[in-house]
Symmetry: C2
Subunit: 282 residues, 2 copies
């Protein structure tokens, strides 16, 4: 007997993973949550049938969504993570001793609870004393917050289901207001390759670049996400991710990373021509 | 009725493409050749059940396997392509008017013939007057060739089946001898992500770096190859792909590209830490 997890990455493309067992399935108030143990990718979990992370490649996503910002402004002290219930983003943030406060707003308590139970690799630092978890809608949480954070990381699902509000203009406007005058917004920015994700990528960029004086996009290889070509947004009121890149300071932290490094910090902003053109035409 | 092409990227990972029709299948003296028309990726073809190219993403592979070398030494005049029967690499090379001679050694005449028939997008320049096609084993062809080429591009299949000899030390030694004193070798270098391809990637690098004074690796996003994270080798007797990068000269050619660009030339050599460590430990 063989058991295969099959994901519809588009209507016409499927990605399949041979699994040892499907050991958890539950529907929360927001989405269907499933955990699997696989032969090739370690444990992984999906929300509404989309892989959120696998033990094999989660380091790419979580390193890239945090360290690019921290190496641009190494003085970041107050961070807001929206989404990120698996804890991987918080894990990377807690590696900086000088970060004082990490607020995480994850709408779905069940995601946090199950990740703590099944994925200690990512969730183990959610109990760090600097971390406060709010089980609220990120869109609501941020309304009325002013001048409070050095960094906001939007570690959301795709803009379907509970993640939808986190791709709206209203949300990005509120992020702008919630950031300090030198604040940085990093968001998962979908993929440029299949039309299904590229549409969302363009929509997000169009909104963010209207609001922030500096708005750049960087890329990473995340094999278990659609097409493996994934983007992140870097938007800022003051810091430019390349001109203000503080390599020496970041290296002084002596963090051991598996994907991110100072050369790649510069390299990841060098986008393919077709992606640049998509972003410029937004 | 639905028709799906299903590729085993590893024993435990499958990539599936919904197809409109499977319009050609034949077994040559060397391998099984299949052509498909798909909904998402245009036409594509496979050799022994592995996708070689799709109309949607072939530009990534073919631009990266040629332009990085041509922008490092823009005076390249004599080129040898080993493999590359689909013609995509030759197509990119013929865009440089100053290239005088392109020899292509493709063992399987049937690949060339079917690509000319079904994939004019890639094969249309195989009739360029500067191109000579030899239907021979690349390993044999190159024996005894001395000091003849400015650039050798190894556009091979994986090291299983007819491509196997193109990953041997003997072959790389002969490439070294067949290159002029300032010659460059570019080869498709497999993927670092799944163990199956990473083993071959390390084996190839280990051999090449013993022979060439300069041996670097660069990366690209090729969504329809295993993991989407693909590597190329750049080995050279004289030119360093970053220190000798001739941006101004390359820009003067005014080539319109969809993936490659001068910023990305520099960025694509910035590898993830885990890949750097794999290569350094070879």
């Amino acid at each position: 007997m063989e058991l295969w997890y099959i994901e519809e990455q588009t209507e016409n493309i499927r990605f399949s993973v041979k699994v040892k067992r499907h050991f958890y399935t539950e529907t929360s108030d927001f989405q269907q949550i499933d955990f699997f143990e696989s032969y090739e990718l370690g444990k992984f979990f999906s929300l509404d049938g989309i892989i959120m992370l696998t033990e094999k490649d989660e380091f790419v996503y979580h390193e890239m969504i945090t360290h690019v910002a921290l190496a641009t402004n190494p003085s970041i002290k107050n961070v807001l993570v929206i989404g990120g219930g698996d804890g991987g983003t918080v894990r990377e943030l807690t590696r900086y001793p000088h970060i004082e406060k990490i607020d995480m707003v994850e709408i779905d308590e069940m995601v946090v609870r199950t990740c703590k139970q099944f994925l200690p690799l990512t969730a183990s630092k959610l109990d760090d004393e600097r971390v406060t978890i709010y089980h609220e809608d990120g869109l609501k949480y941020i309304q009325g917050v002013r001048d409070a954070y050095d960094l906001i990381i939007v570690d959301s699902t795709d803009p379907i289901g509970p993640g939808e509000g986190l791709f709206t203009l209203l949300f990005y406007e509120n992020c702008f207001k919630a950031l300090k005058e030198d604040g940085i917004l990093v968001n998962q920015h979908e993929s440029p390759y299949y039309e299904k994700q590229a549409i969302e990528m363009r929509r997000a960029h169009q909104k963010i670049k209207k609001l922030f004086p500096i708005s750049k996009v960087f890329q990473a290889h995340i094999p278990t996400y659609e097409s493996g070509h994934w983007l992140f947004g870097f938007a800022s009121k003051k810091y430019h991710p390349i001109d203000d890149f503080n390599k020496e300071k970041w290296e002084s932290f002596k963090l051991k990373t598996k994907y991110y490094n100072p050369d790649l910090h510069l390299g990841c902003f060098a986008l393919p021509t077709y992606v640049k053109e998509m972003l410029e035409s937004c």
